[in-house]
């Protein structure tokens, strides 16, 4: 069996950490990731006219595309993050969370939020024309959009928003209590976590309330852009980097290279990242000076990101073989390379020169997959690869399947992102050259077909992981994977 890390050995982490809950969060996350990937696959098949369910209302690709993105953000990322927080925060603060009962309540409430969101998105539009909806809308002056709301990542139906907000507030309370009691100085990871709890709540409240109820038109566009951006930048990014600052030094058994750069990275992100919001809607009627401001702030983020990347590669310096021998470390550093690439891409695409060509094209879709899958999903795969043996107190069923999972995911997302980014360039030129619209579709089909297969590779990788997990749960351990000193190194 693998020894626990030494962060809180003296206090016996099993007293601090509710390991069952960590496991539940990871399993729920994996379940929703599977569902999300199937939704993405359905949309990908539709784009190449291969959708076998075309014309079936409850399998409408338009609705399932929204399930795809929402299940990833709130079903997969949020769940696995919460599991990892339950593992890391008590170890860093040497205190348990505020309340175990509350933790279980939050777990159940959050799964309800995710499932109800999907149910609302899939079933809501079917009931939209019912008379009682029109009656309620007239009586209570509500938009009464039973299905999705018209903002990306904010599609959560309006009747779920309050539950989700209460859930986020409780999450913040549950983790902030141990952080507040912890003796300073705080480790870098906790800076990111603390800020993320505040930011996520504020971002969610802003994006799900203002553009729907308060402001219309161009202003709603500005608020919406800020919301889309903050959700990635102030919820996913700080939690992801916080986990990297926690797990990488543990696995490499050395401190982060430079504390100064950690400070620059955190404060740079905190200052510049939220200022980027409007860059999602360049060349709209939003005032031009605000667009310029967002562009400059975005380029600044790229510089900040570079300092963080330098810091982590400085940490790896001298231990570079760990990328080969230690699978979680490989997941983490692959994700960091993708992170650097995607931020570099962002610094270019945010300029007005690039925007002319690539806005509205698949370039942006490629960018989104590179960030959400290539970076954060891969990091969380690394975290789960590292933690499941510790949670289950047994080795992985098969190391070969873990390798398949890694390679299918990494190659799959690289092919998908490259393919879609290229497709975006072609689409941009087709449109600008005023060819008939169909020319851009016919020109896109080879790229969309490639994307189906890249996505299938990623899905297959996930199936390897899921099967491996199932067999590990059932207690099967293949002969090759008996716990040896070598495999302990390989898994961190």
């Amino acid at each position: 069996m693998i020894a626990h890390d030494s962060t809180a050995e003296s206090l016996d982490p099993s007293q601090l950490v509710e390991e069952r809950l960590v496991r539940w969060y990871f399993l729920a996350g994996c379940l929703f990731l599977g569902i999300s990937m199937l939704g993405g696959l359905l949309m990908a098949l539709q784009l190449v006219q291969w959708n076998p369910f075309n014309g079936l209302e409850l399998l409408a690709p338009g609705r399932w595309r929204m399930v795809h993105t929402n299940a990833v953000a709130y079903g997969f990322l949020a769940n696995v993050f919460l599991g990892a927080l339950h593992w890391a925060v008590p170890r860093l603060t040497l205190r348990p969370v505020a309340s175990r009962a509350l933790s279980y309540f939050i777990f159940c409430a959050w799964q309800a939020v995710v499932v109800l969101t999907a149910v609302g998105i899939v079933l809501g539009p079917s009931l939209q024309a019912s008379d009682w909806v029109a009656a309620a809308a007239a009586k209570y002056h509500l938009a009464m959009s039973l299905g999705a709301q018209g903002l990306e990542w904010g599609e959560t139906p309006f009747w779920i928003d309050p539950i989700a907000l209460v859930g986020l507030a409780l999450v913040a309370y549950n983790f902030m209590v141990p952080i507040a009691q912890a003796k300073p100085p705080l480790y870098v990871t906790l800076w990111y976590f603390m800020a993320a709890f505040i930011w996520t709540f504020l971002t969610y409240a802003m994006g799900n309330l203002m553009p729907e109820y308060h402001v219309a038109g161009t202003s709603a566009g500005a608020v919406g852009g800020l919301f889309i951006h903050d959700l990635v930048g102030l919820f996913v990014t700080p939690l992801g980097w916080g986990l990297m600052y926690y797990f990488v030094p543990i696995m490499l058994k050395k401190p982060i290279w430079s504390h100064g750069l950690s400070l620059v990275g955190f404060w740079g992100l905190a200052f510049f990242y939220p200022l980027n919001g409007i860059h999602h809607f360049l060349y709209t009627p939003i005032p031009m000076f605000l667009q310029y401001g967002a562009i400059i702030a975005t380029v600044a983020v790229e510089l900040v990101v570079t300092t963080v990347i330098v810091n982590f590669f400085g940490t790896l310096w001298g231990n570079a073989r760990a990328v080969v021998t230690n699978l979680p470390v490989r997941w983490f550093y692959t994700g960091m390379i993708f992170y650097f690439l995607t931020c570099l891409q962002c610094a270019m695409q945010v300029t007005l020169t690039f925007q002319k060509l690539i806005h509205f094209t698949d370039w942006v879709v490629g960018h989104a997959h590179l960030v959400m899958f290539g970076v954060f999903t891969m990091w969380l795969f690394g975290v789960m690869t590292y933690l499941f043996p510790r949670l289950l107190r047994r080795e992985w069923y098969s190391h070969a399947l873990l390798e398949w999972h890694y390679w299918l995911s990494a190659v799959g997302v690289l092919v998908m992102a490259t393919d879609l980014i290229l497709a975006g360039l072609f689409q941009g030129y087709y449109w600008a050259s005023l060819q008939p619209w169909d020319a851009s579709l016919v020109g896109s089909y080879p790229f969309w077909a490639t994307r189906v297969f890249a996505g299938l590779a990623m899905f297959l990788g996930f199936l390897c992981f899921a099967y491996n997990l199932l067999m590990t749960y059932r207690g099967a351990t293949s002969a090759a994977a008996q716990a040896t000193p070598a495999s302990a190194t390989w898994l961190g």
Partner: protein, 221 residues
């Protein structure tokens, strides 16, 4: 300060978020607060009224069953019917995810004004039906902000029922559930969606707007 709990909580957590909120959200909100936000009834214009009446002539049975045609002379009743259809049509547009593949915003670059029509202005979006705004983020299919009037309502009905019948290369899914079995019988959601599409761009003088393209060439492609 940079590593203290209070510093992280109040400067980074609350302060920087508030700074971004003011500069990226509140400034545009305040700049446009004098533009009145129109209700769905207020955006109903004669062009749309004609389109809605035309729907009742083209699909008399379906319209009577699902919407109910007001008296021909009762202009106010027609306006309210049209507004009701617009509201529902917008919700169908959002709920079915139309806005993930169609934009509603013509940019001043990339020859877009040649293809779609006049560049989008803030005033066009200041109404109840753009809350949240339907700018869109991806164009698999064409921009729709000047789509109204360009094609007839029965073209739209057939197209929603099975896009490949009128546009063989289209990757758009079928929306058969907006109909009672065939394209001649749109249900309430179907009628509402067609009315909503015909409304787009109806506030402009150039309605319908035809792009500076050779229409025959597009059909031959």
């Amino acid at each position: 300060m940079f590593e203290s709990k209070a510093g992280i909580l109040f400067i980074a957590g609350v302060g920087f978020f508030a700074l971004a909120f003011v500069s990226n959200a509140l400034v545009p909100v305040l700049m446009y607060q004098d533009l009145p936000e129109q209700t769905a009834v207020e955006v109903v214009n004669p062009k749309l009224l004609y389109q809605v009446k035309e729907l009742s002539w083209r699909f008399p049975v379906a319209f009577q069953q699902h919407v109910g045609a007001p008296d021909e002379a009762d202009d106010q009743a027609w306006r309210e019917k049209a507004a009701e259809l617009l509201r529902l049509g917008r919700q169908v547009y959002i709920g079915e995810g139309c806005w993930h593949c169609h934009s509603q915003f013509v940019r001043p670059v990339s020859n877009e004004s040649k293809r779609w029509g006049p560049v989008s202005q803030t005033e066009e979006y200041e109404n109840e039906l753009q809350r949240p705004v339907m700018f869109g983020t991806r164009r698999v299919g064409p921009d729709l902000s000047r789509e109204g009037g360009r094609r007839s309502s029965d073209w739209h009905a057939v197209h929603f029922f099975n896009p490949e019948w009128v546009s063989p290369d289209s990757p758009m899914p079928r929306y058969t559930w907006l109909f009672d079995g065939n394209p001649q019988r749109p249900n309430k959601r179907g009628l509402a969606l067609i009315a909503y599409i015909q409304w787009l761009g109806s506030w402009l003088d150039s309605y319908p707007y035809y792009e500076e393209l050779d229409v025959m060439r597009e059909q031959d492609f």
